[in-house]
Each structure stands twice: as C-alpha cells, then as structure tokens.
Symmetry: C2
Subunit: 498 residues, 2 copies
C-alpha cells in the first residue's frame, strides 16, 4: 500500500462528515441501529452525521436528505444499509458527490450466489471509477475509539485501548468487543471486512502496522485472499508488533460453513498453521483466549523461560492451575530456599512450602509472595490466582457486626485494601524491573464485586484479571511461544550478519 | 453404609439445633463468617443456631454460651472454628452433650505435618468414643438447600436444585457454587470433605445415591482413601444417577500440590482415568465444564448419536462451533431436503442452506429452525448458539425512536418476545417427545441483559444457557459418551442373561 491508501483508510476511521444511507426511525431496521450508533458516538466531536432516506423528511428529529447529493458540503464517508439491489446506483451518486469511503453493511452480495456476485462486481466497478474505497459488503460496521466513531450497531460500549482488530465475521467482531468491554480490555480500532470486495484483511493488517494508536493486532480469519502478501507482512510486522489470530475452519464442516458465510476459500488449515508458526503469528482458539493474549501483550514483559511460580488463595485451585500449566508444556518448579525463607515471614507456618504457593486465605500476604517469586532466579513468570487483598467481604454481612465496632471494622478492612493497593504498585514496578510477567486470574466469578478497589487499580494499570487459571496458563504459554520466536529470529539475524 | 450412617449424615444436613463454637463479632474471624452464614440461612426455619465462645457474653446481639454444655436442650450439630489445639477438648464436651455431628472448619491437622496428624488422631478417637460423626477437618462448611442450611461462609448465594456436590477442596467448592449461582444452576447439597478424618468422599457418594433431593452427583477429587469402594459404588450408581467429576493432579506438580493441600495420596492419574471409564463416571476438566455437564444431565435427554445440528445467529460463530464439534469427535452432517424445505419457509432465501444453519440475524425464526432440526432423522442433538427472539435491544437506544411511535415500537418488540417464548415451549415439548437434547449457548457475554425474558423462561424450564459454543460442544460430547456407556452396560446385561 502507498501513502494514498493509508490516507484513504485514515479517512474511513476518522471522517469529518458521515452520511447514513437508509437511516430510519424504525427500531428493527439496520438503518435505525447504524444511524443511532454513529450519531450517538459522534456527539461531542466535530463530526457531522447526516441521515439519508428517500422516504423520510426527518430521522431522529433531524432533517433527512433524499440523496447524498443534497447534503451541503463535503461528505467523507457513507454508511450503507439499504437493500443490495439499490446499492450500485447509490454508490454512483456518492462518486459524483466526491465521497472517499463507503462502509457497506448490506448483505446479499457475493456470499449469496451468482446474482449477488454480479451485483458486487458492478458496485466495485462504480467505486473504482470514482476512487471510493469500500469496506465490506456484508459487515457490521467499524469503530475508532481515538476519533470516537462507532458504526457497529450491536455493542453495549467499548473501552479505548491499544488493540487494533480486523474480523472476517461481524458476529465474532461484536462478540470480541463485548467480551473486551466486560473485562475492561481496550481497542484502538475495529473493522469487519466481510466479503472484501475492495479492502481486505491484509490491507488492514498493513494499516494497523503503521497505526500509532495500535500496539497489538488482533485478527479473526476465515480465509485470506492473498496468503503470500499476509505472510510477507506478518514476517515484517511481528518483530515490532504482535499479531494474534483466531483462524476458523480447522475442520471440514467449519471450512464448508466459512465458504457459505463469507465466500472465503478457507484452504488447508495445516498450510495456515505452518505460515503462522514461521512468521511469529500467535494463534488462539477462542474469543477469550484472543483478547486475553492481546491484553497481556499490551502490558506484560515476555517470559524468558517456561518456569511458572503459582500463588493461590487455596489448595484445590492451585492443583488445577499446576495441572493446566504442565499440560501446556510449562513447568512449575520447586522454589529456591531464599524464596521459601521470604514467604515463611508472611504466611502461617503451615503453608505449603512449595510451588504452587498456597497462601491459605492470607490475602494480605499476596503481594509479598509475588515479590519473592519475581526475585527467584528459578522462576520466569508469576501466575497469581486471586487478587491481592481479597477478603471476600459480603456487604450484607457487615450489618452483623455490632454497631459499636462497625465503623472501626470498616476502617480496618479499608486499611487492608489500602495496603494491598500500595503494595501492588511495588509489585508492578518490580515486574517491569526484572522483566517477568505477572498474570492475575480470578478464583471467583464475582471477584470484582468482592474486591472492587483492587480490581479498579489493576485495570487502571493495564492489567486484565483473567476469568480462570486455565485462561492465565494459556496466555503464558502463548507469550512464551512468541518470546522464543523472537529470540530465534534475532539469532538468525546475527547469523546472517556474521 | 447402614441406615444409621445415612441417618447421621441426614442429621448433619438437616439439624434442628446447631452450635457454632468460636462464634465471634470480629468480622475477619472464621467464627464471625460461619456463625453469620448459619444464622442468616436458618432465619425462617425452625432451626436454632447458638453462638459458643468462652470470651463473649453476646455475639450478634444474642446470648453467647461459654460451652456447648451450657446450651439448653439437645444440640444436633456443632460447627467448629476455634484453633486446632483446642478442638479435642471441645469435642469431648460435645460428646458429653450428646452432639451427633461436627463440621470442623479449622485447619492445621493432618495436612500440616506430624503434629497436626497426631492432633487429628486424638480428635477422631474422642469422636469415635461418643459416636460423633465428623466432616473435615480443614474445610469450608456444608450446605443443604432443602433444609435451608448454609455453613459455607464465602458464597454470595445459592440456587436450589438437583445437583449433590462433594469436594475435596473448599475453594473449588466455593468456586463451583458461585459459578453455579451466576448461571442459575441449582444444588441440593454441598459438602467439603477436607482431610476426611471420619466421613470420606465415598461416604457422601453413597449418601447422594439414595438422596431423594439429588439427581446428579458432582465431585471434585484429589485422591480417594478407598478407591476399590469408589469403583464398586460408581458401577452401581451410574446406571441410575450420573456421576460427574473433576479429578485434579493430572500432572506431577499437581499431585505434589494435592499432597500438601489435603494430604491426599493422588495415585496414578491413569489408574483413576481407567476406573472412571469402566464405571461410567463422566470426567471433566474445568469448573464450568463440571457444572454445565451436571445441569444438562438434570434436564436433557441423552443423545443417541454424534450428529449435531447447529443453529447460529451469524456465520463466524457457526464456523467456530462446527470446528469445536469436529475436534471433539462429533459430526455436523448435511441437512435432509425436508429440513432445508422447512427452513426455507422461515429464513430469507440467501440463508446458508447447510449445517450450521446461519439464521442471518432473523432471531424470530430460531424456534422453527430448532423444530426442523429436531425432526430431521439425520440429527441426534441440536446446539443453538443465541437465544430465540434475541434482538439485541439496547435500552438506551429506544429513546431515539420518535415519541409518536415509541409505545408502538415497544409493544411490537414485546410481541416478538411473547411469540419467542410461546414457541420455546413448543420446542421444549418436542425435545422431550423425540428425546434429543437441545443445548443453548450465548453469542454474547451480556445476552441475558439483551434478552431477559427468554433467559428467564429458559432458566425456569431448567435450561442453562452456556457461555460459549465451545462449552456447549463439550457438554454434548460428554452426554454422548455417557449415553454410549449406558447402552453398552445394557447390552452386556442382556448378554449375561441370555
């Protein structure tokens, strides 16, 4: 891609004026949802969002235009939700208006058979004639948190962050963003690529590679139009910016479904897998694994070896966490005598004296145990199952404390949390100094309700608390794989130079 | 076990009077949390819960006794939270008082070394002398939803249901119950077995087998005291009541952690695995897989084959769901012409015409698609990814509908949901008639907020909506394994008879 292509994509993510063609007041229509999303998200920005619909004079109480041609001044981007047969004509009007980009939500193009394919070809020819760049068709919109633009209708909300995400499925796109929102994981940009009539997933990979708002590139892939180009790009990009993918269609039934979904030629999964391995692309299997890996890559140092120190609030969870680490090729080695000595100072004498470190519910000792493990030369990464300071405070239960001592109790509990937060900052500093990752996992699905201030601090500092130790172990295994890939690349370069 | 043993365990789960030894007004003490839990949960029942503490005259504003001997009348059960060295003497008083059961929360017994082991032996001798049955020590309490007793301190709440759960880890116990609560999965009883000084996991398995409140037995196992007895029990029980387990300590590091946690002799994992396979015990790997499998066993018919029909709200999610089914040995076969004809009637013509059935966001057609798949002779089970009637209604967005049509819009959306609910009842009836399971999975972490009435109806009818299609596929694979085990057992019986 040249600078003009980059600029075109920039305009699509950061338009000054947007027209929604098919904007509607009927709740169930895509034109309602897309206009609402674009309009809401643009409130408070300098961006204008115009409704266009031949059948309405007003939409959401604003003046509605019969055609994009009637809108005063320049229109940078159009969002199209009208039925497929009407799209080519409307695109011609957009061309005459000087529109630079079109996000085509509408389906029933190449994915639905020969008739749709012909329609897609006609539309593309029109776009090419005018130099309009197309995203889609058959997608669920796009997002830039930097410019505050959301055209994806079906999301609750999104957190600003450093992950750039391109998806060949709109539904997976929404799922990833919603899971991200739920766990406070932030995105810089999102785009659904759909049928890729014009702009492809590869184009967005190249765009994200140079995007200053993006530190990690996340992809959902069903099939690539230009595998060779992807491989070349990935080889160049992964030493500077990690690329994390879900590649669907591992199975024959999956490939079949992918073909009918996005008309993608899924190709042999083994070929994709080998290409990912050779170019340092991190492959994950599920939506949570994708976003958790991206989140860790945004914040954590990479582990330099496979020896994991585990801290757990109670025994059983430690057993399962160790099992999962071992299954993934990680090690859970014995602790050094110095580490045991340091932990002896903060835990009751009957603690496990081994790895996993069972803190026997002494949550206030969590941070000291992490520090001891970070300093252990036999440990490459720390997995902490339960958040520091967790006391499982049930709000209703505070009422059982006699009134005479209730205030003092609350003050004492708050001091414990204050200490946990102060110590947490020491842990994070130490983690950055010794360059070993510290992964936090929940013991409990409601842990953020039980320990809200520590959760908030962890989120503030860029940490995601993963749902289970299994998720945390998976993230560590993928970080380690990537770390080893980078070292191998580095040594190959030295070899080539010498 | 004989009837007297069953009666003793019955008393532990359904005592008329309980004393909490170590009850306290200091929030951070176990005696505070356990007394609060027992006291709160017994409100509105005929049960009396007495605080006992030598150092207090009142606890939670109630008269506190210096010894269990001072309590007027019979005491059925004691909950003990005082330090380990004090336990043997207190247990002697309990014996003199005629107490029948003791739930010993306190740790620092056999799990902490020789001194603790000696203490545990002394305590057990005292209990045996008086005929007191012991649960624990080193546990996090027990629960009976039927009798409304909760002695487990660190849970938010629990749903009444048909799963009986015994756990060799208190933390895993709490985790399972909290995940269950979050997904509205109900339990009949819970018990942590801890060090198993007296009552063992095997005892509770035998108890649950005859318990009228329990339809499915869930277990977290680190190591069995009497493997032979477990095998004999499992062989007898699984044809009538499913047993679902997590067995920890798959790895060497895990086994080591298990030993230091509950002093369990984990033994070779391969031996356990073979025993489970031979006796029809369903093995799962994670807490969510455990409760989801139990939930499905409580409500769903067992699949008679491995051919899965998948319904999805959008393409990409279907591809991943099909991939996961295939990975687990399930099939996603083509649909019969009659099924395609029926689905043609309810979906736009450009639907996928294959399996997975991509409903292209036409949520109102979900139920008709499930019915068509249930009637397809080539399909053994249905997995529906997204709840029927899901329209992803964002409450804040309704305000963008012009005031003149807002009421009519809300009424129309509600009618769609009314229809979805009525059709859902037809689906459930048909499912029971044709005896094929229907598994629902979320597409979205906030789907219950977007579609609350349909979620509520599904929960009412005993269905859990699983978090991801991956979870759903795992449940189907385990149900199929169990179904095949049962058929094989059945045919062996016929062979033996002929």
């Amino acid at each position: 891609m040249d600078q003009a292509d980059i600029n075109s994509i920039d305009t699509i993510f950061n338009p000054r004026t947007v027209a929604v063609i098919g904007a509607s007041d009927v709740y169930e229509k895509w034109g309602f949802q897309v206009f609402s999303a674009a309009h809401e998200s643009s409130a408070g920005t300098a961006r204008r969002v115009y409704p266009v619909n031949t059948g309405a004079s007003e939409v959401h109480g604003e003046k509605c235009y019969g055609s994009v041609l009637e809108i005063p001044g320049q229109v940078d981007l159009v969002l199209i939700t009208i039925p497929a047969p009407l799209v080519p004509k409307v695109l011609d009007e957009c061309g005459r208006k000087g529109v630079r980009g079109a996000v085509i939500i509408t389906g029933d193009f190449a994915e639905s058979g020969p008739e749709g394919a012909a329609r897609q070809a006609e539309m593309l020819a029109t776009a090419r004639r005018y130099g309009i760049r197309i995203v889609g068709p058959n997608i669920m919109g796009h997002i830039s948190t930097a410019s505050g633009l959301i055209t994806t209708p079906f999301i609750h909300d999104i957190v600003k962050g450093r992950i750039g995400f391109a998806s060949q499925s709109g539904n997976i796109g929404v799922q990833v963003l919603q899971y991200g929102y739920n766990d406070n994981i932030g995105f810089s940009k999102f785009v659904g690529t759909g049928n890729e009539a014009d702009l492809t997933l590869e184009d967005f990979v190249e765009y994200f590679a140079q995007d200053k708002d993006t530190d990690v590139i996340a992809l959902y892939i069903e099939g690539l139009k230009n595998g060779r180009r992807f491989i070349d790009l990935a080889r160049q990009i992964t030493p500077r910016k990690p690329i994390v993918v879900i590649k669907a269609g591992r199975s024959e039934a999956g490939s079949r479904a992918a073909r009918s979904h996005s008309s993608a030629l899924a190709g042999s999964d083994a070929v994709y897998d080998a290409a990912f391995k050779q170019t340092g692309v991190i492959r994950t299997g599920t939506v949570l694994d994708l976003i958790y890996t991206c989140s860790a890559l945004c914040r954590q140092p990479l582990p330099q070896g496979n020896r994991i120190g585990i801290i757990v609030i109670g025994g059983g969870i430690g057993v399962l966490a160790a099992d999962e680490c071992l299954r993934l090729g990680l090690e859970v080695p014995p602790l050094s005598p110095e580490t045991i000595r340091r932990i002896d100072e903060v835990l009751p004498q009957f603690w496990s004296h081994g790895n996993p470190v069972d803190i026997v519910a002494e949550s206030s000792a969590t941070n000291e145990c992490i520090l001891a493990l970070l300093d252990d030369p036999n440990i490459d990464a720390v997995m902490c199952v339960s958040t520091p300071g967790l006391r499982q405070i049930l709000p209703k239960r505070i009422n059982h404390v006699p009134p005479a001592t209730r205030d003092a109790t609350v003050a004492r509990l708050n001091r414990t949390i204050d200490t946990a937060i102060a110590d947490l900052d020491r842990v994070i500093n130490r983690m950055d100094e010794v360059k070993k990752p510290v992964i936090f996992c929940k013991t409990n699905p409601v842990e953020e309700k039980l320990n809200p201030r520590v959760f908030a601090r962890l989120n503030e500092k860029g940490f995601t608390v993963f749902r289970t130790p299994e998720h945390g172990a998976g993230v560590l295994a993928r970080l380690l794989w990537y770390s080893r890939y980078l070292r191998q690349r580095q040594s190959q370069r030295y070899d080539a130079q010498s």
